[in-house]
Assembly symmetry: C2
Homo-oligomer: 251 residues x 2
């Protein structure tokens, strides 16, 4: 996992990295926005060096782009890059499902079924706040079962990237029913230990998610280009004022 969600530990450059990552994912800074050292220095109330080191690490995670003598900006997501990431995700999800069909324990399978039941119930009762946790939990079990940290790292990274464009938007009702159906089919394939089928379903499942996400990407781009002032009050100077207390390690 990339971040133990514990912004109270370790060196300052790590805390800055964690909080900055949160801010980027949360949309405080949007793709393509310039990240000036001076602004960040003030926002997080800390010197330039920890900021720079945090940026270097975030660059490694693919969230930030740095150009020598030019500075850093939130990574610009063009459609090509998005497609490539999603394509990789399809491949990896398929692999994970095949591996689970082969080697997944019945205990974990039961866990998946429990999560699915919970998911179905949440949808039936319209408890939208549970959708994302349930969906994540479902895929998490399959991912963790494979025991491949490289795959985990990629998917974590991919989900961070997609979240920067998805924002807090939820799922459409139609898509939600598809998701549930595909999850059910996947469970059936797991129970039958049908490796090829599981791989195929997972790949299609991921492909549907990709299609959905690319459509959302287009919608967001459309909205960005037509509205000068966006709803969140985001253009212009760095919004300051909430600032989690980073000045802990200082005399």
């Amino acid at each position: 996992m990339l971040s133990a969600n514990d912004p109270g530990t370790g060196a300052n450059y790590q805390r800055v990295r964690d909080v900055l990552r949160q801010d980027i994912i949360a949309g405080v800074f949007h793709p393509g926005e310039r990240l000036k050292i001076a602004a960040l220095t003030e926002r997080y109330d800390i010197g330039a060096n920890p900021i720079r080191e945090a940026l270097q690490q975030l660059q490694g995670e693919g969230l930030v782009e740095m150009v020598p003598n030019k500075g850093a900006m939130v990574r610009m997501l063009d459609e090509a890059m998005l497609r490539e990431t999603l394509e990789m995700r399809e491949v990896i999800e398929s692999f994970l499902a095949r591996k689970f069909a082969q080697t997944g324990s019945y205990k974990l399978l039961d866990e998946i079924k429990t999560i699915q039941t919970e998911f179905e119930q949440a949808v039936a009762e319209n408890r939208t706040e549970k959708y994302t946790p349930c969906n994540s939990a479902f895929h998490d079990v399959i991912m963790k079962a494979a025991g491949n940290r490289e795959a985990e790292a990629f998917l974590t990274r991919a989900s961070m990237l997609t979240r920067t464009i998805r924002g807090v938007i939820g799922y459409g009702h139609q898509r939600l029913r598809e998701i549930l159906a595909e999850h059910r089919a996947l469970i059936v394939a797991f129970e039958a230990r049908d490796v090829a089928l599981a791989g195929q379903i997972a790949e299609e499942h991921a492909r549907h998610a990709s299609t959905d996400l690319i459509a959302q990407y287009h919608a967001v781009m459309e909205a960005r280009s037509t509205t000068r002032q966006s709803s969140g009050g985001r253009r212009g100077a760095v919004p300051k004022g909430w600032s989690p207390d980073l000045s802990r390690n200082r005399s």
Copy 2:
């Protein structure tokens, strides 16, 4: 001073990053070795900050591990990590081959055939220095054709990691003949536009390479532990890699 042939990259932290990466891959620093700021400061004749930033970036690339208030070390490669990386490579190579069988142009296919001919000839004439370039060129065409930078990034990273353990060791003669045969089979599948077959062959090809590499890993570990006469007493000490200090390039 930084080494002579540094690319024209502007910032010092980038030059340090590039040279340090070279040094790690070349085995100047071996896996598990501590990378002290002071030593690097002297070696590269530059201040602490560019060094630290270079290390942060290399951490992002997976070559270096950093612990707050502890410092950095060359990433330790245990067998589990190696297996996980190689497993991912199998998945991705298979995907690339499937994609090439679907969408690869005949021009690129011709290019691959030319490279293969060259490879066969090099083997016939025992020109060992051409093996790795030919092999890389073969896979590069397939990789580039897919136009997926995420996949490229992963494979590049994986090859850097494996090279830190493989060193300059070449291929055994038997394995070499297998490689050629598998490449030929892959070309046949491409010509037939047989997507499933191409994917299968590429996956097996990668799996053979994995087996080979893991065997080499074991051989290297074995060699180091017998040379080193450890009675197994010390546990928890710094798990030093293999490769005693051959580097005498202090200035």
